[in-house]
Every structure is written in structure tokens, then in C-alpha cells.
Symmetry: C2
Subunit: 226 residues, 2 copies
């Protein structure tokens, strides 16, 4: 069996890749550049992780339309990346409108051509930033779109192995599977050392705190979030 | 109300635009370059049609990943564009895997940012080439994905105004609405004069034959298809 892993270079996509590899699946890795602030750093993480797992089939897509379209602090430098507020239930400014549907469409096109039957995505519903395109029901609906919108001879399904996990559980699974967290990158703001205060850093640092382990990447500051 | 029209430059997208305009909707036009053979000619048709309808808001997306991914005679020059076989029910070589899901994702991202609530696409189910992503049930399922994958505050819906029409009905509606067919382009193969023998030309010529009208664009040959 062949599967595509959507590998942003973050922790969730790293552990999803580790899970897919642990199942003995032949992997191909897809990465999206979409004009995000930390694009080059994320691509470096993608490359390092794909090298680590010896994934030869790689596709890096420049989805510049997402930055042209704007609407997110990740791609529009006139909108500032808000500091984390993990108790606020609003959708944060980092939300890129319908981003995951864009990357899924690319992944399905590629899967149909290379004969992959699974697409692994590290979406997290529970313990996340509250993006609407990270919910399980979104992926269930998307699987229906794939069934209806691809050739009858294909059989492609999205797999969300960590969607119901808490962030600290994702770390624990990753540790068990030997995932190289030191190669991953999560910060939305900086590319040298992680800022420690954006939404993505906050979720990551809090999760490591919960496990009692120290995140192996370097931070500017490591606030306590518990 | 604001709507996005997906404007390839072909006849079906032209008439869908005419229908949307006839409803008095404020329009924005989205066009996709995806490495198809006739990309420059289609873009010229897009521009001419958008000029005709005085649509100021335009987004042209270079989706080069679709040509990188390949799998279609439209984007892969090692696969030949098959001559039309309107009685063959197989999916033709021109099928671009999951193309419409890619363009819909882009449209929804853009709609969310500019506040458009409808997306018009000129997909045709009945009288078409049999692409799986042109079926009504595909769009119904996609609308569910949009509801689940966008902000709760948005209300975006895909409209397929010609999906149940026969091609000759699309022409008749277009004529009634004064659609400028002379500005549209459908040929998959050539960019100077339409070839007249590819799948897309054949469907178009047959439909004009059925209406008893002459297609105003120039062809290399005009075979009879009835």
C-alpha cells in the first residue's frame, strides 16, 4: 500500500508520519509553501523529516494564491501574529481560510496519479487552535467528496491519526515511535529560535510541560502555560 | 450580494457568468492556469469575457502543481489529446485528476476573504465528457465540506447553474442573455484556430449543430457530429 503524508514540518505532521511509517506503509510526502512567514524554516523541517524517514517521493507545492488571497496573519504581514490566548475560543488571526481543503485537493490529485490509497494529515481537533478545517466531521465530509469526485477505479481515503488526541498524547505517541522532534518546527513567527509566545509555540510548550519532557528545539523564551 | 465566477474562458463558464450577471450579482472572476496546453489562449478568453462583463475583481492562480502532478493529456505533453469519441463512456485522457476540487478550494478561500457568498461554476453533468468531478452529487457533497470547513460566520455555497442542461440548452440560454460566444475558447489542442476534433471541440460543435446556429469562432475543420 502507498500513502501520502502531508508534512508541514510541525509536530503533528511529524507524529502522523511516524504512525504511517510504523504501519509499514510506502510513503510519499507533500509539503505546501503558501507564503507563510516561516516558509523556509518549515521547508527545512520537511526535508529533514523526509530524509530521516527515507521518503524518496516528495512534492513541494508553491500555493502562492493563498498569500495573494490573504486573510491570515501567517501570510499577510499587515496582520500581526497574535500572542497565544489558549482560553479564547475565537478563531485566531493565524487561520488561513480553507487552507486544508486546498492541500487535500492537491494530495488527492497526486494520489490519483501515483496510486496512493491513503492520505495522512496531522489535523488535531480537541486540543487545537479551533480552526474549522481541523474537525473530524470536516474530514468525513471530505472523504465523501473524494469518493464522488475521483475515478471509480480509485479508492482514496483521508486518515487523521491524531485528530482525537490531546497534544501531550501526540508527543507521547511520537516518543514511543522514536519520532525526531528535534527536526520539527512549529513557530509561526520566527525561523531562528522559536518565539515561545505565538499560538503554535504555546500549544507545543504546554503539551511538553504536560508530559514532563523538555522540548528539544530552542526557544527565545519558555513561558509556563500550565 | 457578491459572487465568484469560475471563468475558464470556455462556453459553460461564459454562460454561467451571463446567468450570474443577469441575476444582478456583484461578480469577482477566478481563473486557473494549470499548465494546460492552451493556457495562454484560455487566459485571453478569460480576460476578454471579464472585460465584456466589466468584472474588476480578478484572481488568476498559477496552479503549476497540477502539471507537475500530471496524469492528464491536458497538462502532460507525453499523453496525446484523444480525438473525440462521444459514444465512449470511459473517462477521457484529458481528465485532470480532481481538478475541480482544487479550483473550488481556491475559490472558497478567496470567497471567505472578500465576503462572497456564492461560487458559480459551469460544470455540466449530462452532456459532458464524464469527468467524475462534474456531477451534481459531487457539488452537494462539496457544499457540506464548505459548511464544515469555513468560519461559522461565513455562508458560502457553490452554484452550478448549467449542470443539468444539455450543451445546446446552454448555448440557447447564452444567446438569450447576449453572451459573447465569440470571446470564448474551448479547444484543448490548439490556440490559433480550434481543432474541431478534440473532445471539447466535438461537444461544442455538436451542440451548435443542434441549435441550428453557427459557432462564431474559427475552426480548422468543422466535422458534422449529428
Amino acid at each position: 500500500m502507498k500513502a501520502i503524508v502531508l508534512l508541514s514540518g510541525g509536530m503533528d505532521s511529524l507524529v502522523s508520519t511516524a504512525i504511517a511509517r510504523h504501519q509499514g506503509i510506502d510513503l510519499a510526502a507533500l509539503h505546501l509553501n503558501y507564503g507563510q512567514r516561516t516558509e523556509a524554516r518549515e521547508l527545512a523541517a520537511f526535508t529533514a523529516i523526509a530524509d530521516h524517514y527515507q521518503i524518496a517521493a516528495r512534492l513541494v507545492v508553491d500555493a502562492t494564491h493563498l498569500s495573494k488571497i490573504g486573510g491570515s496573519s501567517l501570510t499577510d504581514k499587515t496582520i500581526s501574529v497574535s500572542k497565544a490566548d489558549l482560553w479564547n475560543e475565537d478563531i485566531p488571526s493565524s487561520y488561513v481560510p480553507f487552507r486544508n481543503a486546498n492541500i487535500l485537493a492537491m494530495a488527492v490529485s497526486w494520489a490519483e496519479v501515483i496510486g496512493a490509497t491513503k492520505i495522512f494529515i496531522g489535523a488535531v481537533e480537541e486540543d487545537s487552535s479551533g480552526y474549522p478545517d481541523c474537525r473530524k466531521e470536516f474530514y468525513d465530509a471530505y472523504n465523501q467528496v473524494i469518493r464522488l469526485g475521483t475515478k471509480p477505479s480509485t479508492d482514496i481515503e483521508i486518515i487523521t491519526p491524531v485528530i482525537e488526541m490531546k497534544k501531550h498524547q501526540i508527543i507521547e505517541v511520537g516518543i514511543t515511535l522514536g519520532a525526531p522532534f528535534e527536526l520539527s518546527w512549529s513557530c509561526y513567527e520566527r525561523s531562528d529560535r522559536a518565539c515561545g509566545v505565538c499560538d503554535s509555540c504555546a500549544l507545543r510548550l504546554r503539551a511538553f510541560e504536560q508530559t514532563g519532557l523538555r522540548d528539544p528545539i530552542e526557544y527565545m523564551v519558555r513561558p509556563a502555560y500550565l
